[in-house]
Symmetry: C2
Subunit: 150 residues, 2 copies
DNA sequence: CAAAAGTCTATTATTTCTATAGACTTTACA
DNA sequence: TGTAAAGTCTATAGAAATAATAGACTTTTG
């Protein structure tokens, strides 16, 4: 039941890209800068950002002075979207996935106890991940920093 | 964020072993029988049941007429216990695991937004998995069967 | 045009997952 | 008492997913 490194790195990069800079709004950042600040292998991050770009969550600017920036306001991007792009369906077993349903091989799906429970688990996870936006996350971080006097 | 096959098979086997037979209480079953009824590769299931036995959740009887049976009442075994034995910690990232904590490489754990959210996700998952017992599952299955007239 | 930056595809390395093999031990019972 | 039925245990093979690296290419700015 673990998030992959790809997913973890992607989320951390997106959160960083959503963090308001000195001017108050999220800034454009270069791959290099993100990888250094978050301890992510540069070339691996490159692939991840590209995937997020191709999925429409990021835009980029090529050439000197270029970089990546959010394609939409941070309040319109959920963690669930990001994880699904990088790691696939959130469901713990395929037979409870909304998007990527597949039978799981149990004798009778209609009365499968495991399926019933995993359905609930999936619901509990998506209730958080599909509701929490990048803005929610950066606000929580700011609040915590203020609380700790950082 | 997926349950492994090992975990899935183990849970299905345990649920079957917890299901009351004709005499009203959970029966002793042989590996062969479980693997046939649940479509699980026999030799793989063997390893899984052995792990669950060594962890104290199952007892076994060797020799002719032997088999596996629950080491405790079904109401005292939770799905969370089973998954942790077979798949390791439930936490989506190691830095929010209670049992298997490891730092995750973020610049500052105290103000890490991803960590805060994943902490909530972990809590939501364990709220279900550490509360749901094998008995809960078999009862839900029976109720569903009754509802469908099976 | 040169340097900085993203794009894209391929490949390798590592790990985890899934499964199989096979020799061994215990038990029941004919 | 010996044989067949069952679990025990360790090793390892095969396959798939994950993680990471490489390198050639394109775009942009000055």
């Amino acid at each position: 039941m673990r998030l992959s490194k790809r997913g973890e790195y992607g989320l951390r990069a997106m959160i960083l890209l959503a963090t308001p800079g000195p001017e108050g709004r999220p800034a454009m950042l270069q791959i290099r800068e993100i990888s250094e600040r978050e301890n992510i292998p540069t070339k691996f991050l490159e692939q991840i950002l590209l995937a997020l770009k191709n999925a429409g969550l990021l835009h980029s600017k090529m050439g000197v002075g270029g970089g990546y920036y959010l394609a939409k306001p941070a309040c319109e991007i959920t963690l669930g979207q990001i994880i699904r792009i990088l790691d696939g369906p959130l469901a713990p077993v395929k037979c409870v996935s909304q998007v990527a349903y597949e039978p799981c091989g149990c004798p009778d799906e209609a009365t499968c106890g495991l399926r019933m429970v995993m359905f609930d688990v999936r619901a509990a996870m998506t209730a958080i991940l599909d509701k929490t936006t990048l803005e929610d996350v950066t606000k929580r971080m700011q609040a915590q920093k203020a609380l700790l006097g950082k």
